[in-house]
Amino acid sequence: MTRRWLTSVALVLLPLAAQAQQAKTPPDLTGVWGPYRGGRGGDPKLAAPPASPLVLKPEYVKPYDERRAAEAAANARGEQLATPGAQCVPYGVPTMMSVAVYPTEIIQTAKQVTIISEAFSEVRRVYMDRPQLKLEDVPPGYYGRSVGRWEGDTLVVDTLGIKPTVAGYRGMPHSSQMHLTERFKLMAPDVLHDQITIEDPVTLEKPMTYTIAYSRSAKDYEMVEFVCDNNREYVDEKGIVRLKVQDH
């Protein structure tokens, strides 16, 4: 009788224990991810929600608008103004998280999540369960310093130390005090969202948030190397991007 009772208890408890274990084990984001492809009839909840408005501090509005207007005017003339990308300067964080159709590889271990963008072979390292440093202790760079933690099934990544010359989200001006909080979550087994919140006490009136949606690439996809050693686009004396042609 006692044994039967114990067996019954075990039968009830074992699945619960397994469930608890499952809740403790974070989802595995390892894999290669490309831009989200919902396709016709796709679940709209899986697509990236619209970005929140970009509200700059008043002193940053005019230069930002002027640059946008100059880009549009050049475009209307059939010219492109120089950009860091056209000169093979890497995008850095956060722009590297979504570059055209290029895939992003995530390698997840308990101690580190490594994020590699195929375009320009950019690499980010997210150190898990380590404290973030003070801003003054992080040398300003393209990727800053990122630490991560799991909040249930969401990987929360905290990044600081991006230098102001690194192009911000859609050309957004930012200071050395820019702080990013990213929330990576599997919305479906093969759909991943990275919700990025940017705070900047110098340039932003209020934080702005946008989301990048990814679809899992083919399981056997092998990342392609990308070393920018043959850049034939150059910037002329007027700051316009031109193509070097061979003269014969």
Partner: protein
């Protein structure tokens, strides 16, 4: 042989359709926009490959193109990156020096002998495009 085809309605339609598709894709480009190329014009270049550069950030076809009188003009044609091309039927060895090929391109707006590839006919007879959304003309 270089054939200017702006008057051919079907091709023009295709070129405009491609231009529209490209315009929509511009904000997402990895390296630079297509602004320097005239996406409303299609030119066909038939000639001999002098070099195929399988490099980043772009791949290039260098090609000698004779005109009707046999006078050779050299063109530099830009393609997507190896990453983009290898998913569209290209290999690093798809073209070699000396290969005969026919290219359809959008020329540079500034009039120099360069352009952006729309379609190439490879030595094995296959026609290939220039990356996702830029497949060969039907």
């Amino acid at each position: 042989m270089m054939i200017s085809q702006p008057a051919r309605t079907r091709l023009r339609f295709v070129a405009i359709a491609i231009a529209s598709a490209l315009a929509a894709a511009i904000p997402a480009l990895a390296h630079h926009s297509f602004t320097m190329f005239d996406m409303t014009k299609s030119i066909t270049l038939a000639g001999t490959v002098t070099e195929f550069q399988w490099t980043n950030p772009h791949t290039y076809i260098e090609i000698d193109v004779p005109d009707e009188k046999g006078v050779v003009k050299h063109w530099s044609i830009e393609l997507g990156s190896p990453s983009i091309l290898q998913n569209s039927g290209w290999k690093y060895s798809s073209l070699r020096k000396g290969d005969k090929t026919t290219l359809i391109i959008n020329p540079l707006k500034d009039g120099r002998a360069g352009g952006f590839l729309t379609q190439a006919t490879l030595p094995d007879g296959r026609t290939v495009g220039n990356g996702p959304g830029r497949g060969p003309q039907k």
